[in-house]
Amino acid sequence: MTTMTPAPVKAPTPSRLGSLASRSRKRLEGTGWQRLALVTGAYLASLIVFGAIAAQQGANPFTVLHAMLSSSIFGGGSLDQTLLHAIPITLAALAVAIPARAGLVNVGGEGQLIVGAIAATGIGVDIGASVPGPVSWIAMIAGGALAGAVWAGLAGLLRIRLGVNEAVTTLLLNFVANDILLYLTYQPWKDPNGLGQPESKPLAIQAQLPLIFGSQLNIGIIITVVLVLVVWWAVKHTGWGFAIKVTGGNQEAARRSGLKVRSLMLSAMLAGGALAGIGGALNLAGVETQLRPDITLTFGYVAFLASFLARHEPLKTALAALLFSAIALSGNGLQLSTGLDGTITDILLGLIVLAPLVMTKREGAT
């Protein structure tokens, strides 16, 4: 005989919604210290595997490490370069993180960076020489944001209106964006004075982002830091941030508590796309100064992994993006001083994301 006790009915409070929103990921067991030791161990293991591959190729692992560190952090101006490369990676990573919090998968950082750079080039080359610098900077950034938002918003709209999987559409749109980039740089936008290279006309000097006194950094880095903080504040401390988190955690619960799930999902996609678009614009206006093929160098995919590694937490995502930027740059030094192909650093990047994939196991059916 069992006695039935009615389950106590509670009104959905923010904390209850919050627990619904938390993902069913089994964290590493053990205390904080044990966890830290495990994670450190996993990263050391990645480094050791990487060193072993380098050694097997006939390079001294310590020379390799030294070359990598000096071309990404310690060498003259190399830290500046790492920070500059981190701008598009960080912003494209936030473009993954915000939709991910709303339960959406944005694999389109690459395409959103590209359309941002295209928009910035179009605007910058057109008006850059005739208006004061700040006007063209703002116009290029706004154009980049708009282009990125449209590119991501397209996938978002298809998802909320037709139920087409956004992971798939964002991926496909990357290739479309890349073909547009190639078309523009090889044909209509090709610089007639460019020695036959597929490059657009360069931005006028005044339209390029100004350098920060005494460094190779430009004001793009300040804009990026501000945006990271704004995103952190928006997702952690605003009603919108909470609402998208609830939507991402449990759509049904979100809908029943009166949230406009579709608009929230679309807004997360638009915000993400705008950020990546700004990343593309800042990279163009501050570093590249003219459009060319390969302008993104798979940064968009690296960004996906950075956000994934940081579990879509904005501040950690920015740090992961910085780390990946350093790894990507360290390939240059390797190539020069050890003769190894620079793409060997892709192995290190893969291993670093592999480590947590191996170490955490999620619950739930396959």
Partner: protein, 303 residues
Amino acid sequence: MNGLEETMIGGIEGGTAILLPALGELIGERAGVINLGTEGCMLVGALSAFAAASVTGSVVIGILAGLAGGAVCGLLHAWLTVIRRADQLASGLVIWFLALGVTSVYGANYISATAPTLAIINVPGLSKIPWVGPILFEHDALVYTGYLLVAVIWFVFYRTQLGLVLRATGERPEVVAAAGRRPAVIQIAAVTIGAALSGLGGAQLSIGYVGNWFNDMTSGYGFVAVAVVLFATWKPVRVLGGAYLFGMALAATSVLQAHGVSVNQYLLDAAPYLITLIALVTVGRRGSASAPEALSRALARTG
């Protein structure tokens, strides 16, 4: 020979390097696992095949090495996604980056090497059929393997118990488990076999269609293969059509240029992706509904 025939021949030859990985991806996705690392598995297969053929002088060993290289790559993805239950998209991208790095390091010695390549075999009788013969039956062995595999996969999917269990695993693994089968084993096998076919697709490039090895030589074919599976709404015969269509779009560019026709190459290159997008939109909910259910669930729970 006119431009249309050239485009179709090139489309089938190059399309095979899309068809083989797409069929592999189809098997994996039908079991509920997407592999964005298909591009990486193709690279590994392309290098393994080229290196083995170069060292041994045998294309047969090259083909086997391509299959094996792809399978190793698939085992890693299967271990991560099925056993460790890692995020499928992230695992795929990790595999792509690892493959880019590993093949650039170990492929450096083979960039200027030579290897025997697949011979063109004219199918007796069939290749004599006017017009159709030269287009369909004057190719290398891997092209014919592609034809056969479509038939074999269709048969296994829809006419055998194994196929039923595989498809059920992609829809409702818990039902398969309740019926006394082990969905994890089926998924691991499906992903590994699928990636082996990606490796074979890489081999079709390195010791077939292209005939040498260079870094990142698959240049997006693996991602196109993933797109083809979606375009085909997870049906084997449509995968064949999609792969050749995409192959022809890629081949048309060079053919048109050779004939002095001015064509916008990049618009043509973008066409396969746009067609896939439009197909996804027009099929809309119906298309998404035909996606294996476990796959949709896996894609929705990234994090």
